[in-house]
């Protein structure tokens, strides 16, 4: 019994001392709709930051061949606190809308971080 308690306490200590940092972006398949401006379409995505070692995420819009596409958002690099969820709009000209394939968020690491995360949603 005493040994079981010791093992349990050890597991709790190990679990608490192991940092778990996550990056999440939704939806997987965003869809564009008409915006309040003529000739411009908009879609909305969400990022959840559970990374203490990241305070900024950079947004990018790309073609199928990973060429960058011009877009407008409130921030290109979104400032985010730990455990923040941020909803952001991405505006793209209707002229380049058919070329949009991926919308990605990339973690901007603080000094000492060792894993960079990138999540891309796909516009179908």
């Amino acid at each position: 019994m005493l040994n079981s308690i010791r093992v349990l306490l050890s597991l709790i200590v190990i679990t608490l001392s192991t940092p778990v940092y996550s990056h999440e972006m939704t939806p997987t398949y965003p869809t564009f709709s008409k915006s309040f401006m003529a000739g411009i379409s908009v879609t909305t995505l969400n990022i959840f930051n559970k990374r203490k070692d990241v305070s900024f995420y950079e947004i990018g819009v790309f073609t199928k061949e990973w060429k960058p596409i011009p877009f407008v958002s409130e921030y290109t690099v979104i400032p985010m606190k730990y455990l923040d969820t941020v909803s952001f709009d991405v505006y793209v000209s209707n002229l380049s809308l058919s070329s949009v394939e991926y919308i990605c968020s990339v973690s901007q690491l603080k000094v000492g971080a060792t894993v960079s995360s990138k999540i891309c949603s796909r516009v179908k």
């Binding site: 778990v20 996550s22 060792t114 990138k118």
Partner: protein
């Protein structure tokens, strides 16, 4: 007393109920979650070598991918090809790296390792089953053939990508 009881029973159905059903709503979306499970640490088994392999005294970085929709994402893990921070180096560094599936939440994911595609320093896995997969990356850096790494702190970055299909 009996009259009082009867009156109470008759009135009972008219007493308004204050308990109400409170709904809890939620939306489960398809998503990919990248989690740093274990940060890597370089071991220094030889003066000219830094390695995350446990046999070399290092700690292998482990990244977990959680996907909630089967066959919706591709995971790409790229091992480092340069130090993100280090003392000044005057010679070239030769990098090698491998990424492998270290743990899965579903027995059906056992085929991920055999089906992985490697190009350059990047290893690609097709996440065909919903659930969690742990990937471990081993990175080795050898300095100028047999030169000793200068003393100091070294950091390199593993890039974990989750791309919707």
């Amino acid at each position: 007393m009996k009259k009082l009881l009867i009156v109470s029973l008759l009135l009972a159905p008219h007493i308004p109920a204050f308990a109400e059903e409170t709904p809890i709503s939620g939306l489960v979306q398809t998503r990919c979650l990248i989690t740093t499970d274990t940060n890597g640490v370089f071991g220094n088994p030889l003066p000219s070598k830094l390695s995350t392999a446990s046999a070399d005294g290092g700690v292998v970085p482990i990244v977990r991918y959680d996907v909630t929709l089967a066959d919706a994402y591709v995971a790409k893990v790229t091992t480092p090809t340069a130090f993100s921070s280090s003392p000044s180096l005057t010679d070239s560094v030769a990098w090698t790296g491998t990424t492998a599936v270290s743990k899965t939440s579903d027995a059906g994911m056992s085929g991920y390792e055999a089906a992985k595609v490697t190009y350059g320093y990047t290893t690609q896995f097709d996440l065909t089953i919903a659930g969690s997969t742990w990937f471990s990356s081993t990175a080795t850096a050898v300095y100028g053939g047999t030169k000793s790494f200068p003393g100091g702190s070294y950091t390199a970055i593993v890039v974990a990508e989750c791309i919707a299909k």
